[in-house]
């Protein structure tokens, strides 16, 4: 809403949107937007699949992983 209300200025009183637009062809812009959208959609699907899978497994006690020497927290001594 703030972006629409600001038009035709990009920086009010200083820079018009028309003056700031880059010289990228519409085809290229469309292609990059499509690429980003597809990538993020695929990532979202993968994310949901992983979350569903992990939630389905339910909570279970996980043994503490063996830490390499020197990395184990000192508090583990007690």
């Amino acid at each position: 809403m703030t972006e629409i209300g600001r038009q035709p200025w990009l920086v009010t009183g200083v820079l018009r949107t028309r003056e700031a637009v880059g010289e990228i062809s519409p085809g290229l812009l469309g292609a990059s937007l499509t690429a980003y959208t597809l990538t993020y959609s695929a990532m979202f699907v993968a994310y949901m699949v992983v979350l569903t899978h992990m939630a389905g497994k339910g909570a279970q006690a996980v043994p503490a992983p063996a830490m390499p020497p020197g990395l184990a927290p000192a508090a583990a001594a007690d």
């Binding site: 290229l28 990059s32 690429a35 980003y36 992983v50 992990m54």
Partner: protein
């Protein structure tokens, strides 16, 4: 030294740090298909604590380009729009794949491994392609695009060299032996990349030609290619020594590979200076107003010690050989 000069040096340092640091973890990503599943686990562990911090240098470099040289930022990123998009998609894929492959089993893990490789390769190729476009001044024509593609491929080879020599340092046994062989393959590609870029820049630009072929200065400048050849020979010799079990630090091949990149970068900087866009825009023409540069410089000087500090701590804490299974 005036403000644009200071920012040019800062940007140069950030870009070189990025190329060397993210270069080795992108290289390890590209080497994944050449390793067994157990070795892949070790390879991922060898870059695990470092890879995403390495990418902050890219953000710093582009950030300096934007705030200190806004005009150049507009020209360069406008011209390189497509390869930049390709690089970002590649970096996103490999970042996500890096996290998900640890949790995935069976063919899922194979899929994420493949995406990790593909993302690493796409990002590296795109960066090399950008370098190829940048040094020819974004000249149009099929020949220039083919040139950029060849530079893209050879930058992939250069990152493979960094990745392989990193693995020589971080691994042992059979995987280290493999990494020694990979290092030599990478070295061949780097030789091609350095030769191509060194020959192309003077051919493309009169200015660059005049700077390198100006006797007797040329004789002094020959120190750079000489040092680069020496660093290449050092990679070859030190990998040979480690393979034979002769006393040699396993950090030597990586150090030599970094030296190749640093020398090539210096040569490129000498060619381009004072231009930030070759033959079009000098750093003074492209620089922002001094008052804004001062503010940004104060911010940069406050932040940089922290970046350098936490980087040093991370490399110290996670020193030594990497083991598999930390992430599995």
């Amino acid at each position: 030294m005036d403000l644009p000069m200071i920012f040019m040096v800062l940007m140069g340092v950030a870009v070189l740090a990025y190329v060397v640091l993210d270069g080795y973890d992108l290289g390890v990503g590209m080497l994944m298909p050449a390793a067994t599943p157990a070795e892949q686990s070790v390879m991922v562990s060898s870059i695990g604590p470092f890879w995403d911090a390495n990418e902050t240098w890219l953000v710093l470099g582009i950030g300096i380009l934007l705030v200190a040289f806004p005009q150049a930022h507009g020209v360069v990123l406008g011209e390189l729009y497509l390869p930049v998009v390709a690089m970002l998609v590649g970096l996103m894929l490999r970042g996500v794949a890096f996290e998900f492959r640890m949790k995935a089993l069976g063919w899922h893990r194979e899929l994420w491994n493949w995406l990790f490789w593909a993302g690493s390769f796409l990002a590296s190729f795109a960066q090399g392609f950008m370098l190829g476009r940048y040094i020819t001044g974004f000249a149009d024509g099929a020949g220039y695009l083919a040139f950029a593609a060849v530079v893209g491929a050879s930058v992939c080879g250069g990152y493979v060299l960094l990745g392989a020599t990193w693995l020589v340092h971080k691994t042992e046994g059979e995987l280290q032996a493999k990494a020694l062989a990979w290092s030599r393959w990478g070295l061949a590609w780097v030789a091609l990349a350095v030769a191509l870029v060194s020959l192309a820049t003077p051919l493309v630009s009169e200015t660059v030609r005049a700077k390198w072929f100006d006797f007797p200065r040329t004789l002094g400048l020959m120190l750079l290619p000489g040092a680069c050849l020496a660093a290449g020979a050092w990679v070859w010799i030190s990998t040979g020594r480690i393979r034979r079990g002769a006393p040699a630090s396993d950090l030597q091949p990586f150090g030599a590979a970094v030296a190749i990149f640093a020398i090539a970068f210096l040569g490129l900087a000498y060619s381009l200076f004072p231009y930030v866009v070759i033959d079009r825009l000098t750093i003074w023409e492209a620089a922002a107003h001094p008052s804004s540069l001062k503010v940004v410089l104060a911010g940069a000087l406050a932040v940089l010690p922290f970046i350098v500090g936490y980087t040093a701590v991370a490399y110290y804490v996670f020193r030594g050989k990497a083991r598999g299974g930390l992430y599995d």
